[in-house]
Symmetry: C2
Subunit: 370 residues, 2 copies
């Protein structure tokens, strides 16, 4: 029989590419597990023991759908952030929430502004909804905020994406610059401020809640996937003006967050001692990764996140190092476009994994240079 | 500041309604938990002990993103169904997968055919993507398959929804009727066949895999939320022609299924003894619910699913009984539109919960009749 012919024109036009290939796919291709899993900015320090216990205790009630209002978690986040619960929407990770905000704002040919080489999953959503990506290149390995403002104005774009700290470079802007960006954007441009890594950043890089709270065209996105160590459970949240946030409820999958995810996130938020401890371990691992980079002739970029981007000099060398590491059991990633593609990106993790990275990097660099 | 003005026209047009209010919302309003939770067709028999153990064991690796290919689960489903893995897509419950198929096919004013009073979440997705619902009334508390075919032809609709067994009535069609439906529909109409409850139905109501496998315009949807007792973990799957199924990958949230959900579903699929035991318990609970209905002057409908719809005579009486039960700590639901709104729908569950239902129903009916 002939293929089904009634997919939308947009659906038919979409490429079959995916934002990321998972490490498991590479493991299946290699026929062996990675010895170090440092490519997805996960937290190898794991979730708190209190969270692991909460997950185990919640297992037997997995037969229940989640509370579609995510009430308890939203109330806890409300207290944590000092915002009314109506300002907060919980969703299936930042990825899921980005998909929703794109769906609410983007249709065929809508211009959307981001940095060239920034988060691919955001771009996947934009393309998936027919939007047109308009990009500003990175400037000195930072997002060029002024260029993003200019592009948003020139294109009359209703949506602009900024991450702070930035992924994949690890750089961060000062809080004042982010507030200035938000104020400089037209009221008709929504700022998607992705703060997935903000807990691990210098606190003067994170705008105070009140500094952006009154703006209907700003939504901030945070997650339990990074510092809280719950990437596999898909719980993120977004907050902003209550009227703006109310739109998510019209399109979100109301029962989409898992019940165990809600329980785990609530427990994670309550265990701020673990948070503090992980932040310290991330900082130490960043220092060690930077030392390892330097010892192997790479230049580590200063990072405000749970990974370190390492400058390999040029894209060919970066690709060779990445390929060598992956071939030797170390999962890392690298940005795909210039000028970022001279970098490899290595996530923080426990010392045992950094030991593996250090050893294999030395071998790979020696091989390449021989 | 004024509200953000650049949401799409479609987003602005959407109602703020939600498909379902969760029992937790009602519990917060009542100030007390329900004594019996029989409203969402969850499996109060729970997941298998082997699955609970698998979830607990997987908790500490929650820091890892899931395998975005859902490889292990798809391979297990492939063996289970006798289909190539390319024919199967795993997603965030049937709800999530329905959202994707709607997104792939529906745009502004696309006609979509379903039964009047069938699954509200499907309708939520259709409306959310700008589609136009075209409905056939139920006929003798069954989906009127011939009317659905006629509507699909008359409207040149690219999408038609059928559930077998049906929710909310519990009725089922014979497998031959479903196959005949699929063959009668134009090749330009996609049949969404929702089989969420099929494991608990008479097996002659479930078309053999091969009977529909060759058709690019048929997608079957199944879930771990019902008989497997994992509603809270959001794992469903869809299968059909590989070319058709490949379209999901262009729009799905690749990392959207939780890692624990993958582990749990894999364990659940492996524990077919538990499946058999739950199927038996569901059947016995259906019988008991039917007896309780009759003992209280209600007429139970024959059910192929894990719930029993009970005919209260008219909508006013059904609403009064539902309201009385909810007020007395029993969570159940009822369909919202005629002629189904003379029914209440009660999920199967352990005897202790059915005891509560039985007691409270007698009290409520006595109060209404006094």
């Amino acid at each position: 029989m002939p293929a089904f012919s009634r997919f939308t024109q947009l659906a038919e036009s979409l490429p079959a590419t995916v934002p990321f290939v998972g490490p498991e796919t590479q493991e299946r291709a290699r026929g062996a597990e990675f010895a170090a899993r440092l490519g997805a900015n996960e937290s190898g320090f794991g979730p708190a023991p209190s969270v692991i216990a909460a997950i185990a205790a919640a297992a037997e009630l997995s037969w229940r759908y989640c509370d579609p209002e995510n009430h308890d978690l939203r109330m806890a986040l409300s207290a944590h952030l000092g915002l009314p619960p109506e300002a907060i929407v919980v969703g299936e990770g930042i990825d899921g929430l980005l998909g929703l905000v794109v769906r609410l704002i983007v249709e065929r040919d809508t211009p959307v502004v981001t940095s060239l080489g920034a988060y691919p999953t955001f771009n996947f959503h934009v393309v998936g909804h027919g939007g047109r990506l308009v990009t500003a290149p990175y400037l000195d390995d930072r997002e060029d905020l002024n260029a993003l403002i200019d592009l948003a104005e020139r294109e009359t774009a209703p949506l602009v994406y900024v991450s702070n700290p930035d992924n994949p470079t690890g750089s961060c802007a000062h809080a004042d610059s982010i507030v200035a960006l938000a104020r400089a954007l037209p009221a008709t441009t929504m700022l998607v401020l992705d703060e997935a890594y903000c807990e691990m950043a210098p606190q003067d890089s994170v705008p105070a809640i009140g500094d952006l709270a009154g703006m209907p065209n700003v939504i901030r996105f945070r997650t339990f996937s990074k510092v809280y160590g719950l990437a596999g459970l898909r719980v993120g949240y977004a907050f902003g003006d209550p009227d703006t946030m109310s739109r998510f409820h019209r399109v979100r999958n109301h029962f989409g967050v898992t019940r165990i995810g809600q329980v785990a996130a609530l427990a994670a938020l309550a265990d701020q001692d673990w948070l503090t401890s992980v932040i310290g371990r991330v900082a130490r691992a960043r220092d060690r990764l930077s030392d390892i980079a330097r010892a192997n002739g790479l230049v580590p970029l200063v990072s405000a996140a749970n990974f370190v981007a390492m400058d390999c000099g040029d894209d060919q060398r970066a690709r060779a190092i990445l390929s060598g590491l992956v071939g030797h059991g170390v999962f890392i990633r690298m940005p795909g476009v210039a000028p970022l593609n001279r970098l490899i990106r290595v996530s923080t993790g426990p010392d045992a994994e950094l030991d593996v990275f250090s050893d294999r990097l030395s071998e790979v660099v020696a091989t390449i240079d021989s």
